[in-house]
Amino acid sequence: MTSIILLSIFGIVNLFLGFMKSKRVLLPIVMVFLAVALAAAVRDWGQLNTYFGNFNTMMNMDNFAVAFSSVMILSALFILPFSRSYAVGENANLAEYYSLLLFSLVGGIMMVTYENLLMLFLGIEIMSVSMYILAGSDKRNVLSNEASMKYFLMGAFFTGIILFGIALLYGATGSFSLPIISAAAQALEPGTAPLLLMGLLLVLVGITFKVGAAPFHFWTPDVYDGTPTIFTSYMSTVVKTAGIAAFYKLLSAAFGGVYEQWFPTVVAITVLTLVIGNVGAVAQTSFKRMLAYSSISHAGYLMIALTAFNERSENAILFYSLAYAVATIAAFGVLKYVSDARGSNDYEAFSGLGRTNPLLAFVMTVAMLSLAGIPLTGGFFGKLFLFSAALEQDMVWLIVVAVLMSAVGIYYYFRVIIAMYLRDAVAERVPVDSLGTFTLISLVVLTVIMGVLPGLFSGLL
């Protein structure tokens, strides 16, 4: 819980730091802020803190919440070093962007700690509003403006749907609190509670939009493409992790007893997401848009654990979220350096990177192998754990779909590897700063550790 309070205070302090003349000091300060928040979050592990009676039973910082908040803060910590070039430019609003990032993390943590649907709603809103602004932070770029506008209009609409769903749930059960809703849902005969089911469906739709799962994924490619790369990588990791964890928490804490009622909907969303994400990614010529579709497909993989819904699910989601976040941040990090230097997000921009920048190419290769789920990387065990969770429920056909889609995934992830190593260089060496190099190496090391010693991270929850 301390992490929420600290991050809120840091966010406000950081706004005032923006008055300083030099923008260069902001990055180290914010990184220290995040490191402190991470330490505070990890300290809560197994502690069962009850501040103010868990804020009147509004929030609960259990191990589940600690684990996912830590993944989110860690992801943010890994993303920030790539924003260094922003400080060098004439970016006047850097402090504000960093503050928004910190505030959105507060929202994200609320989304994994909520015990009450009001807190879920607040969390989603705090996170989303920050992201609407950050999506448009490249003010002079038309695409960035488009991204912000699209994201805001659609996001506001789906926020309304979530709110409507919450209202219906309140009408059916008389409470916003998850335990009470859970008890009420179990007491109701299936099929006799249209209000409850409708409410659940609407909340599901809203969260589906937030995690970018099909059929409410249409905003993703355009928004990811237009948003500055730093914030795209933030969106596809932190926001996604928060969304999936919130999704799981909603289903397990409030609707675990009525599994049969929501199972068909969630399974349909999962399959659609897997197919649309993977098939959509194949057709892209822009690496950044490919990553957008790939993030849709990974939402689909994560949702396999939701449909399985057993004691393996939590751990599988946690492991996969971490592996996915680490690999995605590495990929976006390399993309940022390459697109800054070569002015393009396309696959062609990566041509010959293996010769001009062996390190960047290696980092990208490891990231792609991990996203494709090839052994020696965390992504392999992530997929193995997810599939295990589903197979324990005997959902063989779902796994067949997922396996086929993984094979499709290999195709588009390898395109960039082929471009880097097998095509001739189109341009000069891409300049990389030392902080970025260090971060990229750490990400690779973490990916390989997860792939060789998965026991360190699995089975935590």
């Binding site: 192998l369 090839i374 754990f385 082929i418 026991g455 089975g459």
Partner: protein
């Protein structure tokens, strides 16, 4: 611990090689591979062939929460393949000395890195660990073939990669399914899989899930379409790795994870698998006769030879399986030797086109002798290694079904046709302007070919050195299958 050392050493050495700049990398890599060879010989010396249980066992929890083990050990079946790997890798590295590849440290590091994967595959005794090493071995050879390959390499190697990964995903799915059938908190250990009692229907589809993965790797007809192009396009070292060692992964995988795990499935489908294998034998041989590119001749001959090995797998009798074991060694030795000779010829005169050559023997008598011995080994002349393996295999197939043995036996005749045709046109005849200045083998080339030639005779004259190593393990395997 010895097994773990055998697995880890090449990977560590690979990191070391990466740090070496320039052409010095190959010497470091060669030295590292020799150390690995010594480790392998040490394992051989300390191996007790009468014990059927895996020796030098290391059994540690890997993913403790899921009951997945890091269990590696060497039994008679593993030992032969480990020996094959540690014997061939230094020769493959030495064979690449003269090619002066671009970025040599990456090239040689990838070879060593692949060795880690290969040894891991041949010693893993946990299904997920096996899968892990299976893919670890694939990635380096993909990059070797794709980065240092010839024309059309991007398309060809990508097809190879997608094809094999697609197959292995089925294997993974089957492993996960089997894992959940194990009692209690689940286990992916080999013994736990062997102890499973599954219905015939379940074993029937599990057979195909596993078989496809192994069949693509070998490759067995009709899953072979990636093979000729990949062998042709890959650089010599890549082709040697693929044909000499990597395809044995498929055969070994079937021995360890197919036959004993789904015995009922195997007995249902053995005839189909045998027919596919025999079609491959004939098909590969006939196409090999028509090839003009030396590398393609050997590539298609490899389909033919591997078809016979695959057929031996499904005979499920001692002769057949012992034939598989010894022929895996022989095929590895012969095919690496032949691909090396082709690479020597290509380096000297810049072509592999059979029609363009002739009369090389007059300039290169020493190479002629080596080439002939390796070729005779490949066509299974008595006294050479190929004879022992093919004899046992054909005997095994014959015992399974007489007409199949008869059809498969055609391979010996067809094999002689395509091999002698190639040998004759390349080596004999009159010299032309291309082969005019051909020079005989250099010292380092002799250093590669002489050990191979020695092995051809060793296995041919005294196969018992190796057969006795694997015999108890093979008999034990048969017991497990027929339980």
């Amino acid at each position: 611990m010895l097994t773990a050392l055998l697995i880890l050493w090449p990977a560590l050495a690979a990191l070391l090689v990466l740090l070496v700049k320039g052409q010095g990398a190959k010497k470091v890599a060669f030295g590292a591979a020799l150390v690995e060879l010594l480790l392998g010989i040490y394992a051989w010396a300390n191996f007790n062939p009468n014990v059927v249980e895996p020796q030098f066992l290391l059994n540690e929890p890997w993913v403790a929460s899921a009951g997945i083990l890091f269990k590696v050990g060497i039994d008679g079946i593993s030992l032969l393949l480990v020996l094959l790997t540690v014997f061939l890798i230094p020769l493959i590295i030495l064979a690449s000395f003269k090619n002066n590849y671009d970025r040599p440290s990456s090239f040689f590091a990838l070879i060593l890195f692949m060795q880690t994967g290969l040894i891991g595959v041949f010693t893993a005794l946990d299904a997920f660990l096996f899968y892990f090493f299976w893919e670890v071995a694939l990635i380096p050879v993909y990059f070797i073939a794709a980065m240092w390959g010839g024309e059309n390499r991007i398309k060809v190697t990508f097809k190879f990669f997608l094809y094999t990964v697609f197959g292995s995903l089925f294997m993974l799915a089957a492993f996960v399914y089997l894992y959940f059938q194990t009692p209690g908190t689940h286990s992916s250990e080999d013994q736990a899989f062997y102890a499973l009692v599954l219905s015939g229907d379940t074993q029937s589809w599990l057979f195909w899930f596993l078989f496809i993965a192994f069949a693509i790797k070998m490759p067995v007809f009709p899953f072979h379409t990636w093979q000729p192009d990949t062998y042709t396009t890959a650089p010599a070292a890549g082709t040697m790795l693929l044909s000499g060692i990597m395809l044995k992964m498929g055969i070994y995988g079937a021995l360890r994870w197919l036959l004993p795990v789904v015995p009922l499935g195997v007995s249902q489908w053995a005839t189909v698998a045998l027919v596919l294998a025999i079609i491959g034998i004939i098909y590969g041989a006939i196409i090999a006769i028509r090839q003009q590119d030396m590398k393609r001749v050997v590539a298609f001959s490899s389909i033919s030879h591997v078809g016979l090995i695959a057929a031996g797998l499904f005979t499920l009798n001692e002769q057949g399986l012992q034939g598989v074991m010894i022929q895996m060694l022989s095929h590895g030795i012969n095919v690496v030797g032949l691909f090396f000779i082709i690479d020597i010829i290509q380096r000297r005169i810049g072509t592999r086109d059979i029609a363009a050559m002739g009369g090389i023997t007059q300039n290169a008598p020493f190479m002629t002798v080596c080439f002939m011995i390796l070729m005779l080994g490949a066509v299974a002349l008595p006294l050479t290694n190929g004879f022992v393996g093919e004899f046992l295999l054909l005997f095994g197939v014959f015992r399974y079904e007489a007409w199949m043995g008869a059809v498969a036996g055609i391979t010996i005749i067809l094999g002689a046709v395509y091999m002698l045709r190639m040998f004759q046109r390349v080596m004999f005849g009159v010299k032309n302007e291309i082969t005019q200045g051909f020079t005989d083998l250099t010292a380092s080339e002799k250093a590669v070919l002489i050990p191979l030639v020695v092995m051809v005779f060793w296995i041919g004259l005294h196969p018992n050195t190796f057969l006795s190593l694997s015999e108890p393990a093979v008999l034990h395997l048969l017991e497990v299958i027929k339980r």
